[in-house]
Structures are given as C-alpha cells and as structure tokens.
C-alpha cells in the first residue's frame, strides 16, 4: 500500500518543479532576447543618427548645389560619389535628398531606410528576418520612426516598436520600447 501511495510522486513532483524551472529559464532566455533586441536597435539607431547627420554635409556642400558652389567642390563631389557610391546605387547609405527640410513622413522614411542599411546592409528581407528573430512585433513594419523630428539643426530619432516575449505562455502584453537619440546635423 505504501508503495502504491508513493508511486508517481517523483514524476508528479518533477512535472511541477522542473516545469517551473523550465519556465523560469525560458523567461530568462526571453529577457536575454529582449536585451539583445534593444542592443541591436540602439546600436543601429545610433549609427543611423551619426550617418544621417554627417550625410547632410555631403548633401549641402557637394551634391545638391553642384556647379554653383565652385568647380573645385564639384570635382570633389564627383570624386566622393565615385568613391563611396551614389544615392541611386546605394540608397540605404547615401541620400541626395534634403530630407531634413521635409515633413515627418519623409524624415521617418529616410531614417527607416538608413536603419535597414545599418541593420542588414540594406537587405529589407534580412532586416525583417533579424527583427522577427528578436521578437520585434511585425518585424520591419513594426518599427515606427514617425515621432522623429529635426529641430535646431538637430536630428532627434525616436524609435518605437513592440517586443513580445519569446516564451509567452500566459499571453502577456507586448513590451513597448521607445529609444531616443539625437545628433546635430553637419550643416
């Protein structure tokens, strides 16, 4: 009888305890992924900020007003374009647009493009895949730059997105993330 009463106790205990620990471990893993996602987006946002703020210098000095700045600058502009690629050849790293004079949509689009450039080298599918791997809700479409703006010749990047837990057994709410960075434009 005794034996019968204890039979399955270990199994039952294991089911409860191990499961709890496993859940804990998975939650830990989820946190890890969240941290990683935040790190990756922070790094990319910072690089985007720096890149775009410097981009303005090229746009202002060499590209846009070519021929009116002076022949020397014109030559240099052409040289730089040939060296680093033009906006047409590599839109994720170079832009000729005066996006900083545009509206929030234009700013957001430019930011997103550059963000993708620094995230995946300009491959949108890859970027989407990476973001989804990091549990960013809707991947690339889930990135929201619409609150970004330019004020006092400074670019303020405001990146909003949602993260979901890797192991969301209780259907917990998404984690809303907002990351901010700023960089003065090289005008």
């Amino acid at each position: 009888m005794v034996k019968d009463t204890q039979r399955g106790a270990i199994t039952l205990e294991a089911c409860v305890s191990v499961l709890s620990f496993l859940i804990l471990m998975l939650m830990l893993s989820s946190f890890f992924v969240i941290f990683m996602a935040q790190n990756v987006t922070a790094h990319t946002a910072l690089q985007t900020s720096e890149s775009l703020s410097l981009d303005v210098y090229t746009t202002n000095k060499m590209m846009v007003k070519e021929g009116t700045i002076g022949s020397t600058s014109g030559y240099v502009g052409q040289f730089v374009t040939k060296l680093f690629g033009s906006a047409e050849n590599n839109p994720y790293y170079v832009t000729n647009d005066r996006w900083y004079d545009g509206d929030s949509t234009q700013i957001a689009n430019t930011l997103k493009k550059r963000f993708i450039g620094y995230l995946s080298g300009g491959d949108e599918k890859d970027a989407d895949y990476i973001l989804k791997q990091m549990n960013v809700v809707d991947g690339i479409n889930g990135l929201d730059f619409s609150k970004s703006y330019v004020a006092n010749n400074t670019l303020y990047i405001v990146l909003n997105y949602e993260l979901e837990f890797d192991f969301n057994i209780w259907n917990a709410n998404m984690i809303s993330v907002e990351q901010r960075t700023c960089s003065k434009l090289w005008k």
Binding site: S17, L24, F31, M36, N39, I69, S183, W186
Partner: protein
C-alpha cells in the same frame, strides 16, 4: 493494533523520495541560475558599455557638428565654434543618447575638453593638407601647365653665362672707344702745347741770337777801341806839340790866338774822347764774362726748348698712334673671337638653319606620337634648346658687331678727315730735325767765341719749323663732333628716353596699392591674446640682396646722367654697364640657388599642396577693384571675399612715388616693423604670406621687388635677342651693350609694374614694352590697369617716342597706336601667361619655408576671423588657440542591474575615455 512509534532523527523529514527533485533543483539549480543570471548581467553590462561608447561617439560627432562656420567656409578648416558652451551642450546630448538603453545607463559625471587647437602648426598643417589632397590637385591640374612651364624657364636662368661674356665684350668695345677719345684728348693737349711752343720757339731763338751776337759785337768793339785809343792819343800828342809851338810864338796874332784856342778845344775834345773810349773799353771788357754767361744761358734755354719741342712732337705721335690702335682694337673687340665678320655671319646663318631643321624634326616626332618622356624626343628637345641659346648668343654678338661697326665707321670717317694732313714719317723727320738743331745749338762753344766768330743766323739755328702735327682746333673739332654724335645721336636719345622712363615710372604710385595699407595693431594681439599665434613671422628673405641691387642701380644711372663730355659719357656708360652687369650676375646666381631647390622642395607634394592652399585662398593686391573700392575674390574654398569681409583702410599713406629704386627699398624697410591700428589686412594677404611684415605696404613692395628681380634675371636672353631691341641698340653704335644693359634693367621693371597691377605676363615674353611696337600696349596697359590718367600714361610713353623717332626714320607712334587699338588690345589670358597670383604662388614655393608659411597662415586666420566676429558682434573674442579640432571626454557611468543583490556594486561603475576630432 499496536503501532510501533518511530524514532525521530535528523532525516526524519525525509520521506523517501518525496521532494527529492525539488530539493535537487533548489540545491543545484539556484547556483546554476545565479551563474546564468550573472552571465546575462555581464552581457548586459558589456553591451551597455559598448552602446555607451557608441553614444559617446555619436555625441562627439554631434558636438563636432558645431564647427566654426566662418573658419570652414573661409579657410576650409574645422574647429569647434568658440561661441559654444561645450560642457553643457555635450552633457545634454549625451544624456539623450545614453538613454537609448532605457534606464540601464546612468551618467554620473562628464568632463569635456577641447584639444589640438589650430594655432598648433602641426594641426594646421594636417588640416590644410587634408583639405588640399582633394582640392589642390584640381586647381593645380588647371594651372600647373603654366606653372611647370615657368619653373622650366626659371631653370634656364643658369644658362645665360655666355650672354654675360658677350655683353662683357661690349665693355671692351667701350674701353677702346674710351681709349680712342682719351688719346684724342691727350693729342689735343699735345697739339696745344706745340702751338704754344711755336711762339716760345721764336722768342727763344731771338734771345739766343741776341745773346751770342751781342757778345760777338762787344768783342769786336773792344778791338776797335783798343785800336782807336792809341790813335787818339798820338793825335793828342801831335796837337799838344802843335799847341806848344803856337804858344811859343811870341807875338801872337789874332789868328794865332784863335788857332791856340781852337787847338786847345781840340786837345780838350780829344782828351775827353780818349777818356770816354777808355771807359768804354774798360766797361766792355768787364761785360764780356757776363755776356758769355748770358749767351750760354740762352743757348741752354734754347736747346732745352728744342728738346721740349722734339719731345712734344714725339708725344703727339704716340697719342696719334694710340688713336689708330684703339680704332683697330675696337674692330677686333667687336668680332669677339670670330675670325672675321663674314665667319660670324656664316656661323649665325648655319646655326639658324640647323635650328629650323631641329624644329622640323621635333614637329615630325610629335606627329608620329612621340611623348615628352620618350628619350629620343627629349634629346631632340634638349638639342633644340641648346641651338636656341647658341643662336641667341650669336645674334647678340652679330648685333653688337654691326652696331659697333657703324659706330666705329662714323668715328673712323671723322678720324680720317682729322688725320688727312698728318703723316707719322713727316713728324719723325721734324723730330729728327729738331734733335739735330739742338745738337747744332749745343755745339756752339760760347767760351771760345771771339770777335771774329760767325754771328748766329736764322738760317742756321732756326732752320726747322714746328709742324707735322694736327692742329688742336682740328682735334677739338673732331671731339666736339663725337660729343655731338653721342649727345644728339640715337645712343643719347635712347639712354635719355630710357632714363626718363625710369625716373617718371619711379615717380608714379604704381608700386603698391595704396588702398591696401593697413598696419596691424600687434600690441592689441599681445595684450589680449598673448600675441599672434604665429608670432612675428616677418622674414627679410633676400631683402639684403635687394638693398645692394637698388644701391648699385642708382649709382649706375647717376653715373650716366651726370656726365657732360663725350669721354665722361663713355666713362659713365662703362661704369653703369660694368656695375649693372655685376648686379645682374649676382641676382642670377641667387635666383639660381633658389631654382635649384625646386625639385627638392616639391618632394612628396606636401609643399605644393599647402602652397596652393595659400596662393588660392588669400586675396592679393590685384583683387582690389577701383570700381567697387573693395577686394573681391572667390577663394579655393568657395568663399566670396567682398565688401564686408575685410576692412577698408581709410588712412592712405601719402607716398606719391619714389625717386629711385633705393627710395622704394628705404620705404619698404621703414614700414617693415611698424605697429598700426588695424585688426587685419585690407586685402594684400598673399603678400603678407611672402614677406610677413605687419605693414601691407612693406609686403607689397617686397613682392614687387622680388618679382622684378626674377623677371630681370629670366628675361635677359629674350631681351638681348629681341629684334626691335637689337635694332635700337644698333643705332646706338658703340653704346650697343649699354642700351642692351639698360633694357635688361628697365624692361623687367615695366613688366613688373604692369604685372603687379593686374596685367598677366609671361615669364619670358616675346614682346618688349619699351620698343616701338610695344609702346602703345604699354601706354594702354598703364592707362587701363595702373590707375593713371590717359595724359599721365601718354606722358610716360612720350619719353620713348622721342628716342624712337631719333633712332628710326619712319617711326610713327600715332599710327602704331591706332593699329594697337584696332588689333592688339584683345583681352584674355594668353597661353603660358601667368597672373600676379600665380607668380606669388611660385614665390611661395621657392622662397618661403613651411614653418613661415604655417606661422603666417595662422596669423592671417587669427586676424581675419577676429575681424569677422567683431563685425558680427560676437560675444567672444576669437582666439585661434581656442579653436579646438579634437574633443577629449571622460565620462563616469553606472550600469543599473537586474540582480538586486549587486546594486551599487562598484564593479558596475566605469569611467570611459573618448577622443574624437575632425
């Protein structure tokens, strides 16, 4: 049923396997989880620090975006805006950027400092070179063809040694001319002496004749008296006897008494006569020794006079020989080593033909596609250049020969007329005759002269007339003709014209732009900023040489202008020429030393880069516009310097012009170390880069003089071989080398005046402004560029118009001027012509050290930027020493943790150092 009570033990809580797994997990998994969590935390920490580093980088780049706009736009230099609160701005930006990780990172403290300011020459150099690596090549690509051509021409400065030697042979011709005239002068003096001796000859002879003949006469008188006195005495005795007879008559009649009386009278008369004759005899005898002495003296004097005449005739003959010899040596000097004139002409024609063929060969090679690097093409090019030099030298020699020949021809013609009646042999005969005459005179022994000696007669002792020489009037006439020829001929007209042009030019306000006359207030910078960043970077460079040149040049000019006789003119010409030639040679040597350094200076292209930067970013005097009254320049950095960029100097100096080049140098040196009231220059900044004085005037004058010297040295072959100059110099006959030398001095002066006033010039131009065809363009350029009125320009041109009219029969200035206005006044820069700025660029390359260039640049940046911000009424005083190009950041941060037990642990605090710059 009795149940057995179980004994309580330490493990009594253990109920078999119950809780084993929980226990197992609790014991094992907790540390495991802790370690796992720690690893996660460490990862978070490392990631956070890494992201913070990035945030620091982005923040620094963001702060660096606050660069000084003026420094960037005007100078192409990056430095932080001095109006920025660096610490506060940095902290604000960093706080935003570091918050990208949420609350993970807490910035505790940040220290931000600027470093590597632009006053540091290494930093300035690095930025200038960085800027120029992309910009300078494009600028140089468009300009370097001309510049390399110029450097090539400068390299040729050393190959004009033969020209100096040829010109020096002109001094030999002048020397012969001087000897010719000197001999004429001496011959004239000799003739004058001979003419004076003609009178002395007569009087000397008369004295001699009188003395000797008087002696002889006296001796004869003694004889006569010695014979007469005894006779009278006998007669007296007779009369006394007769008287006694009469007195013895006792009865004397009246007749007797009358007879006695008459006899007594006769006796008395006789006695008186005898006494008188005896006295005369005594006196005459006494006078004989004196008369002999006198005769001997006259004989000696006369003999000496005859010797003088003979010697003077010989002296005349010597001077005459020298004249003839000088005329002959001029001929050989003119040929200067060539066997004959025909040989010289043939040599020149041959060389010209060979040169033409060499040019054709080169043209053919070019058509075949040979490049300049090809060895055979290069050899052909060298051969052509060598031939060109030879032809230039031969043309100079031939020109000098022809000119000298003409001059000597004229001299020789006059000489022929003068020497028409002159015969050396005849003169020799006269000399001989006088020597013989003298011997004859001396042969007369005065002590042995007796009453019977032969009297001195003209036929014997004055048989030879003074003749055989050329009358002094004739020689004087010849000299006056030569003087007239020198003074009123082409030589004088040309020299007068050139000297007048020089004098008038020196009196004009064309050597510096008087609207650019700022003098820096160095005391302001000393008191407020601890001095200019580059210090006082003024460097005399070749100023010492220039001083000597100016001094010698003035001496040479005055040596000519102060002369009035033909001989003095020639001597003046010779002095001027010799001194001038020495100066030119010394200048050439100095410039050669500079030029020989060209390629070592250009090693690595760095010098080329920063010199390009200076030359094309700094305004110079030619950027000043009279119309707008301001400097206008679009710099290499694309910045437009205009009305507001630089101060307009209101205190123009009152320097209307300079009397001499020495005056110019004196003004230069007196302005050199001045302290004024200006913050920056008005527009002559490129000139400051070349000299470094706080006075804009001194800087402009220095550049003028250096450019003049370079042009002087490099234009010698082109001026000496210029067809028009040669033609003009030929009309100056023996003054050919002098005219050439004056052109060598003055033409570059004129060119430099035009160049510094904005007229582009080839380093070695084909045309000569001070020539008949070049004069209209000179007058036009003076009027258009040099702020002269039309009347002033014409007045300067007129200095040469008269000279050309004298030299050329068909010279028509008005016609040439019309032709120039119709055809020759086309504007635009011709191939290989360089602007004033481009010449300054070459000077920078060759004469200013890197250290000085950078020091002066930092001073200019400081001064101009300070002025700009003063105009902008900025809240700060611009100081280049605070223009930082780098940021140094030290940030203390804490990384917040997930694990509560580790909160505030020191291992989660870290200090990050960060450096970022332009």
């Amino acid at each position: 049923m009795h149940m057995k009570r179980r004994k309580k033990t330490a493990l009594s809580c253990v109920n078999g396997m119950k809780g084993a797994i929980s226990l197992f997990l609790a014991v094992l998994m907790t540390p495991f989880l802790t370690i796992a969590m720690l690893l996660v935390e460490t990862g978070r920490y490392n990631s956070a620090v890494s992201v913070f580093d990035e945030a620091l980088g982005v923040t620094s780049v963001s702060i660096l975006a606050n660069y000084d706009k003026y420094l960037k736009d005007r100078w192409g230099l990056f430095a932080l805006d001095q109006g920025l609160d660096l610490q506060e701005t940095y902290e604000q930006t960093l706080n935003v950027n570091s918050s990208i990780m949420g609350n993970t990172i807490k910035v505790n403290n940040t220290i931000v400092e600027g470093m590597y300011n632009l006053a540091d020459p290494d930093i300035l150099r690095a930025q200038v070179l960085e800027y120029c690596k992309l910009n300078a090549p494009t600028k140089l690509a468009t300009e370097f063809v001309n510049i390399s051509d110029l450097i090539g021409k400068l390299e040729k400065i050393g190959s004009i040694g033969n020209i100096f030697s040829l010109l020096s042979s002109g001094v030999d011709v002048l020397d012969s001319g001087i000897t010719l005239l000197e001999s004429h002068e001496k011959m004239k003096e000799s003739a004058k002496k001979l003419e004076e001796l003609i009178g002395k000859y007569e009087s000397g002879y008369i004295d001699f004749e009188n003395a000797v003949n008087t002696l002889i006469a006296k001796l004869n008188r003694i004889i006569e008296l010695e014979a007469l006195i005894p006779q009278l005495k006998n007669e007296l005795t007779d009369w006394e006897a007769y008287l006694e007879e009469l007195q013895a008559i006792e009865e004397k009649t009246d007749e007797d008494r009358e007879e006695i009386k008459e006899t007594k009278n006769i006796i008395s008369d006789l006695k008186q006569s005898i006494r008188s004759y005896e006295r005369e005899l005594t006196n005459t005898k006494n006078s004989i020794p004196g008369l002999r002495t006198s005769a001997q003296t006259e004989q000696t004097d006369y003999a000496e006079l005859l010797r003088t005449i003979s010697k003077e005739l010989e002296n005349f003959k010597t001077q005459a020989e020298k004249c003839v010899s000088a005329a002959k040596s001029i001929q050989s000097d003119l040929l200067n080593g060539a066997a004959t004139a025909a040989a010289l002409e043939a040599d020149l024609a041959g060389k010209k033909k060979t040169l033409e063929q060499a040019k054709k060969d080169l043209a053919a090679m070019e058509k075949e596609g040979f490049s300049q690097n090809d060895s055979s093409y290069s050899a052909g090019l060298d051969y052509k250049l060598a031939l060109e030099e030879e032809v230039t030298e031969l043309e100079l020699q031939y020109g000098m020969y022809n000119a000298g020949k003409t001059g000597i021809g004229e001299m020789a013609d006059s000489l022929k007329t003068t020497f028409d009646n002159y015969s050396e042999a005849t003169l020799d005969e006269y000399v001989k005759a006088f020597d013989q005459l003298r011997e004859k005179v001396l042969a007369l022994n005065i002590s042995s002269i007796t009453a019977s000696s032969t009297r001195v007669t003209r036929g014997v002792y004055k048989s030879t007339p003074i003749a055989g020489f050329i009358a002094s009037d004739e020689i004087d006439k010849y000299l006056k003709e030569q003087e007239e020829e020198l003074k009123s001929g082409s030589l004088s007209a040309l020299v007068d014209g050139l000297v007048a042009t020089y004098n008038q030019l020196m009196g004009l306000s064309v050597f510096f732009e008087d609207n650019l006359s700022s003098v820096i207030d160095t005391k302001y910078y000393d008191q407020n900023l601890g001095g200019l960043p580059g210090g006082t970077a003024a460097d005399g460079g070749i100023l010492a040489v220039i001083k000597n040149v100016a001094s010698v040049f003035s001496t040479a000019i005055s040596a000519f202008t102060d002369s009035d006789s033909a001989l003095e003119i020639l001597l003046g010409l010779k002095d001027a020429f010799v001194q001038g030639l020495d100066v030119i040679e010394s200048i050439v040597q100095i410039l050669l030393d500079f030029v020989q350094n060209v390629y070592s200076l250009l090693t690595g292209y760095d010098r080329l880069y920063y010199s390009t930067y200076m030359a094309y970013n700094l305004p110079c005097r030619t950027d000043f516009s009279d119309t707008s009254g301001d400097v206008s320049l679009r710099t290499m950095t694309g910045y437009s310097l205009g009305r507001e960029s630089l101060p307009s100097d209101m205190n123009k100096p009152n320097i209307p012009g300079f009397n001499e080049l020495v005056g110019l140098i004196n003004t230069l040196t007196s302005y050199m170390g001045m302290t004024g009231k200006d913050y920056t220059f008005s527009g002559a900044e490129l000139e400051y880069m070349l000299f470094g004085s706080s006075s804009e005037i001194a800087n402009q004058l220095y550049v003028f003089v250096v450019l003049y010297l370079i042009r002087l040295a490099s234009n010698i072959p082109s001026i000496t071989s210029n067809v028009e100059v040669q033609a003009l110099a030929t009309t100056a006959t023996i003054g050919y080398p002098v005219v050439i030398a004056l052109y060598i001095f003055l033409e570059p002066l004129v060119q430099t005046v035009l160049l510094v006033n904005g007229v582009d010039q080839h380093l070695v131009p084909n045309k000569v402004y001070l020539s008949p065809s070049g004069l209209p363009s000179l007058v036009g350029a003076l009027y258009s560029y040099c702020k002269l009125s039309e009347a002033q320009a014409e007045e300067l041109g007129n200095c040469m118009v008269e000279a050309f009219s004298t030299s050329q029969d068909d010279y028509d200035y008005t016609k040439l001027k019309m032709e120039y206005q119709t055809d020759g006044s086309s504007s635009g820069k011709a191939l290989f012509e360089l602007s004033y700025r481009e010449y300054c660029f070459i000077l920078l390359l060759l004469t200013v050290s890197e250290k000085n260039q950078l020091a002066r640049l930092s001073n200019l940046v400081q001064m101009e930027t300070l002025y700009y911000y003063k105009q902008q009424k900025a809240a700060f005083t611009f100081d280049l020493k605070k223009s930082y190009s780098f940021l140094s950041v030290e940030a203390d941060i804490s990384v917040n943790q997930m694990l509560p037990s580790l909160l505030n642990a020191s291992r989660f605090d870290i200090t990050r150092e960060h450096y970022r710059g332009y």
